[in-house]
Amino acid sequence: MPVLGVESSAHTLGIGIVDEGRILANEKIMYKIRSGIIPMRVADFHARNSAVLLKRALRKAHVGIDDIEAIGYTKGPGLGPCLRVGQVIARTIAVERGLPLYPVNHAVAHIEVTKHLARFNDPLALYVSGGNSQILAIAGEPFRHYHIYGETFDIGVGNMLDSFAREAGLIPAWGTSVEKAALGGSYIEMPYTVKGMDFAFTGLLTHAAKVLSKNSIKNVAFSLQETAFSMLCEATERALLLTHKKELVVSGGVAQSSRLREMLGMVAKEHNVKFYAAPNEFNSDNGAMIAIVAEKMHNFMDKPGLDECTIEQRYRVDKVKVGWP
């Protein structure tokens, strides 16, 4: 029976429908940004579009609302006002229909959908988004969870790329614009901060913004991107050697970067590790990934009470119990 997933942690409202792991619909609508986002405005946008998007997803999946067996939504991490809209949509349908409701962690969903599509069992995951950059793998008994082996000391790599795009006047101000601007650039030295399996990006951002006045945007963008991605690859390589994992995935918004995928592919090949990155519709925020995890929770875990179905802006990935295989 189909499971519905609602994602609304940032500028994307996504509704996905899955049935026994098959993705029947993954509809999304995105608040258009030029530079930065104002949470309340985005929340309004999500609220306005929710009914239309729900209809679109049901139509695409060829299921009726009566066929839905369980519902999942993003509990966090994310922007409070935006998360609230998704939670209210999911909760309202669940309560009205008497369906079980599952709160899903956004990062877990990104990794799990990638793992699902790759048909991997136990990968090391590099999760790279705007707010977060972490290296994780499932560990720990009896509390099985995504253990964080390494992460950013300050800001997420996506946030760093977005901020640089704004400084350089690139529009829209996000990573894809930096990747385009970097084409054909040449390398100028940048600060490179890796500590064991952790890394930091603010020093790099500040330096890149500073040298913009004396160098072409192309060269600065190129050097910034190469430096940031090399840092991520080095930390990931160290985690691979430490954990001896034989599978590697990259997920999250920045996983859309073809250059980052190429570099991680080389890291994996060097150590005879299988590597997978999902199609971009699953790396940008989407509802299908929430539905995938909700279905696993529905099949393998206890049904949570409604009082547990809250939102949490800083919902840590390592606080989530992974109760499915």
Partner: protein, 207 residues
């Protein structure tokens, strides 16, 4: 010169080598194909240089470290320490950390920090206990070290140890550190700060 690879890390390969009649090891930073060449060489040269410089400075301070024999662009020959890492000793079932190694490493880290040297990867894997009778403690792998007065960077050296050791072992290590560091209050205060920050509240040691 015949060399036998004895270990391979993420960053460097370690070879056993005889050089100038000395029983040495070579730490060679191999190229990384995923990095563009200019960046790759810059990082390898920079780290090799910093490592050589901190090794020499540390030795001058009286911290036991491998002795430099020869330095190249991407590699350093040092004397070979016969012994085991503290991580290996801890890894043995039921093995306790030797108190001397904990106290020595606390004192050595304090000496380094007092002269604004931050190790950058101060874990039990980079502390060696020699197999001679004196059971001397050596600090190895200065590949991520830096010269800085930053309390934050110093606190991160302590944080790595805190995550790696049992509560009691860390207390032995930290009290030795406190007794020998000029500015331990500021560093320990910063360590508490770092642990209070959201990102680190629930994080424990890997594996």
């Amino acid at each position: 010169m015949a060399m036998k690879m004895i270990s391979e890390g993420a960053e460097a390969r370690i070879y056993a080598a005889m050089i100038f009649g000395i029983n040495a090891i070579l730490k060679y930073r191999q190229p990384k194909r995923y990095r563009i060449r200019a960046l790759d060489e810059a990082i390898r040269v920079r780290r090799t240089r910093i490592e050589a410089r901190t090794l020499i400075t540390a030795q001058g301070l009286g911290v036991k470290v491998p002795q430099i024999v020869l330095v190249g662009r991407f590699g350093i020959f040092t004397t070979r320490i016969n012994g085991r890492t503290l991580a290996d000793i801890l890894g043995d079932n039921g093995a306790k950390a030797p108190a001397k190694a904990l106290a020595d490493s606390g004192r050595y880290l304090a000496m380094l920090h007092s002269h604004n040297i931050v190790h950058g990867d101060f874990t039990p894997a980079n502390i060696m206990v020699s197999s001679n009778d004196a059971k001397d403690t050596y600090i190895i792998d200065f590949g991520l070290s830096s010269f800085t007065a930053s309390a934050e960077d110093k606190a991160l050296d302590l944080l790595l140890m805190k995550r790696s050791l049992s509560h009691n072992d860390f207390q032995v290590f930290a009290s030795s550190y406190k007794a020998h560091c000029d500015d331990s209050d500021a560093v320990l205060e910063r360590l508490r700060d770092i642990e209070r920050r959201g990102r680190y509240q629930t994080r424990t040691l890997a594996v």
